[in-house]
Each structure stands twice: as structure tokens, then as C-alpha cells.
Symmetry: C2
Subunit: 262 residues, 2 copies
DNA sequence: TTTGACCTTGACGTAACGTCAACGTTTCTA
DNA sequence: TAGAAACGTTGACGTTACGTCAAGGTCAAA
């Protein structure tokens, strides 16, 4: 057999065969006088064996190890590990499909609302479409949701749960309106202290604690060589830059109050 | 915000952010006097949006298209298509895990028997471990199984089903013994014609037809510029090269008989 | 002042081949 | 018998989504 026949027999490309030679997965057969490789049946069997392992999901490096170790025991370990890996992959794809489904359902409501299922549900309840401040708030929450790992996402949802109860919802909407009203106000507008106080009262205690923990001044003296997780506070400055002077002042007051409460 | 803060906020590496700039997924922000990139909140929101789409499985190219087309309709098409794709992937992983399970169960019986579930079952019934010829036969079947697509695999199993019935099984084992007995015989051994005749009688009609269809002389005059599937017969020569002269002669007779029967 | 953490651009490495390129060999066909 | 297809050879670059140096400039604290 020549290389094309071998490839056709096993159902791969000739490039693949040569690639396996290159990686040492398949021994180089004898060459004819013209330099062509001449294959025997055993080569086809060996190639098929490589293919079967590859199709099941082993990397070519792993296959080479398994073939080197030849006969048995290590193969089983690798296969068991691989199966666990495939199970994880299925799981991951399931999660992705769930998010996709939400994505499809949500795109028409808020075209930019591509978040986790739970977060999407919370946002739907929480934020009226006609408030500029609510939009900002939503964006911050979406940021937090995107940045977090699955565990963090669940935690975030838990922190927000108190806000989705009916009375809290009404209070929240009222606060959004009062904040929107400050869109063109200056930093010494008389309405600021009251809004800040009510906002502090509105925030669930645990959520407030989580926010304070993420601020720059709050680093507990842990490892001396490190500066905590290093990201604290950047989001706060960036947020303030988007706010009107009055709104920024409200926020400053809120932060100060929360810090004092520690 | 500088690039490290942005990256930490959204949960990616700075390399990723720069990569997205390079691909045009994220607009380059303004530069400070020192050349540093300075990000605003909107950049974090945009980056998070890219990440959400990427995590769901869109390629960066697709994401760029979706973002360019901005607002709506095309996104939905892409997402629907993606969901179908993910469903296919889950399916494929399921198949792989099934084969893996068989692989794990079978490795201890025949360490080289890494075939599809159905084929493994057939082989277990069909081939005694102590026959050299049965081993060759198994290898040929494993080759066919490896080379075929899923549909072809099922077809192959169907072709073999008649051989797994109890009486056929007994006849098959007897034939293996008689073929093994020819391992050291010459091409004019007197036992050859009878073995060939019994072998022909043993093969299911449809399987024989399939074999003949895969032989070199059998090309039906289809497209004139093409030579059929081009692989016919290579396996036959390779197989013959592994056989003793007597066994090869048996095979030649079988092939001749089958061809005549067309 | 020096260290260390940050930033800049540029370029190479990854997995498993696909796809030329540039060339020699075999085989079919006119 | 010649020319065209179809095969074979090695070598090298392209693909995805970044990770990981390299070689240097900037900025804060010790």
C-alpha cells in the first residue's frame, strides 16, 4: 500500500498520516526505491488504533504516551480521567445553552442584556426601562455578573434578593426617579443628603458590606508583599466619572456612611 | 481606569484586552501623556458584552460581525445557529463517552480492541482469542469499523448479524481452525478448494456483495474523469501479503467465486 | 535612589492538521 | 509514445484565542 491507499482505507488524509509519522505516533514504513512509503496491513491497524483513541478525545501527545507505555494499565487511568473531562464539557455546554436560551429571550427586551439566567430575571424585575440611572445601575450589575465565576454569580444573586421584594421594588423605583432628577444638579444641591440617606437605608446590609469590602481603603493587612486583590476602587472612580456632580456627591456620601458603619 | 484595572474588573487578562483592541472588538480608548490607555466605564461595559458572547461560544470573528451589525436581528440568527451547534456538540460528546465506556470495559479482554460499542459486542461473540486467523479477521473488521462514518458502522453491523447466530458461530470457529491449519501450507495444498467453498457458503449474501463491490475490477462507469472511490483492492493485496501461500490461495478462490456469482 | 509593579509594542508558541509550493514519479489516455 | 493527470516527496505558512517572554519606558513607595 502507498500512503494514499492507506489513508483512504482508514479514512484520514495523507497529511494526517505524515503528521502522525512526524509525531512518532506511527512508525515510518520502509521506502521503495523511488522514495515512496510502502505500508503493510499492520500499519493500517496501528493507524486505526491511533484514530480510535483520537476520536474518543485523547490528544495526540496522550496517545503517544499510551502507546509508549504499551499494554494496559496507564491507558485505563487516562481514559477514566478523559471521561470525567468529557462529563465536565457536557456540563459546560449545558450551562452555555441555558445562557443562550435566556439571551435569545432577552435580546428583544434589553438588546444589550446578555447575562446569566438568574441575573436576567432579577434585572427584569428591578430596572424600569425609562430611567437613565437604572440603566447605569444595570450596567454595573452586568459587569459584576460577567466578571464573577459561577459561585460568585450565585452569591451576587443572593445579595440582591431582598431588593426584589414588592415594597423594596417600589422604594427602588422611587430612588431611581430622585437620582434621575439630580442629573443636572450641582454638588451642593439641597436634595442630596436625603437621597443619600434613603439610599443607604435601601441597600441590604450584606450587600453594603460586600461593597465596602471592595473599596480601596479597606485592605486588611494580609500578606505584606501584596496589595489585596488589587482592583478595589477602580470601578468607583469610573462610575463617578459618568455621574452628574450631584449624583457623584450622593455616591460619595453613601460610601462614607457605609465605611463609618464598619 | 488603566488596562490592568479594566481587566481585573471584567475578569480577563490584559493580553485579552489588547487582543480585542487588535481585532477591533473593543475601541481603542484615549491615551494619557505617557502612552497608557485610559478606560471609562463604557469600555468595561463593552468588554463585558464581548466576554458574555464569547463565553456563550461565539468566535471572536462572529462577535465582531454581530457588533458591527449592531442592534438585533442578525444576532438572533447567529445565536439560534450556535444553539444548534452546541446541541450537536453535546450529542457528539455523548457518543464519545459511550465509546469510551466500551473501551474501558473491553481493554482488559482484547487490549487493542477499541471499537464502537456494537462492533465490540459482535467481535466478542465472533472471535476466539486463540486463533491467529481470527485475530487477522478481527483486525480487518476493526479497520472497516474505524474507517466508516456512523451510518456505515451501523450498516456493517447489519451485514455481520447473520454470523452471530449460534450455528453460524460454530461454523465460523471451525473455519478459523481449518484456516489456521493452512498457516504453513503451500499454494497447492489439497485442502484449499474445500475450505474456500465452505467459506463462500459461510458468508452472508449481502456481505459478499459488499465485498465484491469494493474490489478493483468492479468499478461501474460513473464519472469518466474519476476512478470511483479509488481505494478498492488495496486492502486485499495488503491482506494477502500477511497470509501463508495456502491461505492467500483460499482467499483468491473465494474472490474469484464471488465475482463470478455477480 | 532603587526596587517593584505597572505600562508599551512585537514576536513566538500552542493543537491538529489544511493548504499551497516546488518538484519528482507513475499511470492513464490520445 | 508523448503528454496529461494523478500520485508521491519535503518544507513552510495559516488557523484560534490568547499565554508568555523580550526589551524597554513610567510611576509609586521604601
Amino acid at each position: 500500500m502507498r500512503i494514499g491507499e492507506l489513508a483512504a482505507l482508514v479514512g484520514v488524509s495523507t497529511r494526517t498520516v505524515r503528521h502522525y509519522h512526524h509525531l512518532g505516533l506511527l512508525p515510518e514504513p520502509v521506502r521503495l526505491a523511488n522514495g515512496y512509503r510502502e505500508y503493510r496491513l499492520r500499519d493500517a491497524v496501528a493507524l486505526a488504533r491511533v484514530r480510535r483513541l483520537a476520536e474518543v478525545g485523547l490528544s495526540l501527545d496522550e496517545i503517544r504516551d499510551v502507546l509508549a507505555d504499551d499494554r494496559g494499565r496507564e491507558l485505563r487511568e487516562v481514559l477514566v480521567e478523559l471521561d470525567a473531562d468529557l462529563a465536565r464539557q457536557q456540563e459546560a455546554i449545558g450551562v452555555r445553552r441555558a445562557r443562550l436560551a435566556v439571551l435569545l429571550a432577552e435580546t428583544e427586551l434589553h438588546p444589550d442584556s446578555t447575562v446569566s439566567p438568574d441575573m436576567a430575571a432579577v434585572l427584569r424585575d428591578l430596572s424600569p426601562a425609562d430611567s437613565a440611572f437604572a440603566r447605569l445601575d444595570r450596567e454595573m450589575l452586568m459587569l459584576a455578573d460577567t466578571a464573577a465565576d459561577p459561585a460568585g454569580r450565585a452569591e451576587l444573586i443572593d445579595l440582591m434578593r431582598p431588593l426584589t421584594e414588592p415594597e423594596a421594588l417600589a422604594r427602588g423605583h422611587a430612588l431611581y426617579e430622585r437620582l434621575d432628577a439630580l442629573a443636572d444638579a450641582g454638588p451642593d444641591d439641597p436634595r442630596i443628603p436625603a437621597v443619600a440617606a434613603d439610599l443607604v437605608a435601601h441597600l441590604p446590609a450584606e450587600m453594603a458590606a460586600a461593597m465596602v469590602a471592595n473599596l480601596p481603603g479597606a485592605e486588611d493587612p494580609a500578606a505584606p508583599g501584596s496589595r489585596g486583590d488589587g482592583e478595589g476602587g477602580a470601578w468607583l472612580e469610573a462610575l463617578s466619572a459618568e455621574l452628574s456632580p450631584a449624583q457623584a456627591e450622593v455616591f460619595r456620601l453613601v460610601v462614607v456612611t457605609l465605611k463609618e458603619r464598619t
